[in-house]
């Protein structure tokens, strides 16, 4: 007897319905198949298709079932040792962006930097909790205000870990000699913010054209010093979105073609000054689609330079592959406070940067310990209840569940609850939009779309990656 591994479906149009199972195997079919599947009246053609693609078994413990369970197991990654840490050596910053997510401290404020004792505690914590490799992301505030602390951490990690990668998140208002020297190392990367053309960057960030000019000069110098190791993220205000072409030009001017399109994040100062950022709105979706379309158009005109949207590429990979679970915003189970952690300026430990922001703004304390006393395993365990989307009553009926993730901290930030109906959350709206777009692109017959998708997935040529099944008998 043919036993179909439970499927979920989503209507893409009147005739096309997307199906997927919990292991992430996906295909397109039609209303007829949906009716036959759910009324236990599959045709021979249906059964042949499902069995031949490993979507159904013909007897318990057969090869298809073992393969299905293998795929399912690879989607349920167990927790790992700490391998990604965000360090905040200082909360002070020399800019005051209206959408600052972390409620930074003033440039001359006292008591917002690590002390020598705190530094020693941080290094001891990394030694105790870390595995063999580590990625250290320095954030703030503006972390380069304390290059001495950055250099101490870098020096320590290079001796303690087999592999290190350092990311310095800087507003690049200055490019001091110590940072210039550090950027020459291949294991050091720089991440900054580039909101688009100079006028947009000035309006949103520096407020003064001469500061924008200085930032542009510093970014140019940094990209020359560390080619391929400098990334920039735009923070986009949904009420004043730039022209997609202007935005891509602004990045291309620095040789950057991989862009992570982000709305203002509803945290910190942004909650008061950008209340519109609370929801995932239609205008943003149109803008996002238009930028992707412009990327596809440009990619079709160039064999070498490929524009891509970071998160869309991640979504495509998650739809098609298991094991693409390094990004904290998009994975399930999302083991909070295990392989990824934030150490704040005061030594407090948080599972994510967003949790740090919620604590900073006094909304809720989601800290999971302190570098001096170690991880509070009870507090950490309490965060895991919503970390599995497979257990969510809405996600467990969603066609994208295997590829999607879970972000209870974002839910708390926006709704004040960890358990809102998933379908009502900004997280769900955002990911439905992105996965809908990703599957639309995967199913597209347009050669220029297929060419871009192949480039984004690192494939040599266009391949139809989502199969279609119709019973023609």
């Amino acid at each position: 007897m043919t036993e179909v591994f439970p499927l979920r479906f989503r209507r893409k149009s009147a005739d096309d319905i997307l199906f997927a199972n919990e292991a992430g195997q996906t295909f397109l079919s039609d209303q007829g198949f949906l009716e036959r599947l759910t009324s236990h009246a599959l045709s021979k053609s249906d059964r042949d298709f499902l069995v031949s693609r490993g979507l159904a078994s013909e007897s318990a413990n057969d090869l298809n079932e073992t393969a299905f369970l293998g795929r399912l197991a690879r989607r349920q990654r167990p927790p790992r040792k700490l391998s990604y840490v965000i360090l905040v050596p200082t909360l002070r910053c020399d800019l005051s962006c209206s959408y600052c997510q972390v409620s930074r401290a003033a440039l001359n404020a006292k008591g917002f930097d690590w002390t020598p004792d705190r530094l020693a505690q941080v290094l001891a914590f990394l030694d105790r909790e870390g595995g063999e490799t580590i990625q250290v992301e320095f954030q703030g505030g503006e972390p380069t205000l304390r290059m001495d602390l950055i250099l101490d951490v870098v020096s320590y990690c290079r001796t303690r870990f087999k592999e290190c990668r350092f990311v310095i998140c800087s507003n690049l208002s200055k490019l001091e000699p110590e940072l210039i020297e550090l950027l020459k190392s291949e294991d050091v990367h720089l991440s900054t913010s580039l909101d688009g053309p100079p006028a947009v960057h000035t309006r949103q960030r520096t407020l003064q054209p001469d500061l924008t000019d200085r930032f542009y000069a510093n970014l140019e110098q940094a990209t020359a010093l560390a080619p391929g190791r400098v990334a920039a993220l735009p923070t986009l205000d949904t009420e004043q979105l730039p022209d997609p072409s202007d935005l891509l030009d602004a990045f291309a001017a620095f040789g950057m073609r991989s862009i992570y399109l982000r709305q203002v994040v509803y945290h910190g100062f942004a909650r008061k000054r950008h209340p519109g950022s609370r929801d995932y709105i239609l205008e943003w979706q149109h803008f996002y689609n238009n930028v992707v379309e412009e990327m596809i158009r440009r990619n079709a005109q160039s064999d070498t330079a490929t524009f891509d949207e970071f998160y869309l590429t991640l979504a495509l990979r998650r739809l098609l592959k298991t094991g693409e679970d390094g990004h904290l915003d998009l994975r399930s189970p999302n083991w909070l406070g295990h392989d990824h952690m934030v150490i704040d300026y005061d030594g407090m430990l948080y599972p994510t940067d967003e949790a740090r922001m919620l604590a900073r703004t006094g909304q809720i304390d989601l800290s999971i310990g302190h570098v001096a006393g170690g991880i509070d395993t009870h507090a950490r365990r309490a965060l895991q209840d919503r970390a599995f989307n497979a257990l969510d009553p809405w996600c467990s009926q969603c066609v994208y569940q295997a590829a999607c993730g879970s972000d209870p901290i974002d839910d708390i930030a926006r709704t004040g609850r960890a358990d809102p109906p998933r379908i009502e959350t900004a997280f769900c709206r955002r990911h439905m939009h992105i996965f809908d777009l990703a599957t639309e692109l995967l199913c597209s017959d347009r050669p220029e779309v297929q060419a871009s998708v192949a480039k984004w997935l690192g494939m040599p040529g266009s391949v139809k990656l989502i199969e279609t099944h119709h019973d023609r008998s």
Partner: protein, 81 residues
């Protein structure tokens, strides 16, 4: 307008699940399950077609999820040993 979707007696529990979910999806509509039907009321003319399709799909989804729940549990049990 009203949308009236017939249900079989054995589908009552799945229809109740569908109604609960549809009430979240369409909070402005009145949605009830009666012995032989799922009834959506106060549906604006402009959204009748969409609401009908979403409700039909949700009924199928809830029924199918209920029917395959044991299989899903069994598969996880085999996975976890």
């Amino acid at each position: 307008m009203r949308i009236d979707l017939p249900i079989q007696p054995k589908q009552f529990q799945a229809a109740q699940d569908a109604a609960d979910r549809l009430s979240v999806i369409f909070p402005e509509l009145s949605i009830v399950v009666e012995p032989a039907r799922l009834l959506l009321s106060n549906v604006p003319d402009s959204m009748v077609d969409e609401a009908r399709q979403v409700a039909k799909d949700q009924l199928i989804r809830s029924r199918y999820a209920s029917e395959t729940a044991d299989l899903r549990v069994a598969l996880y049990r085999r996975l976890l040993g």
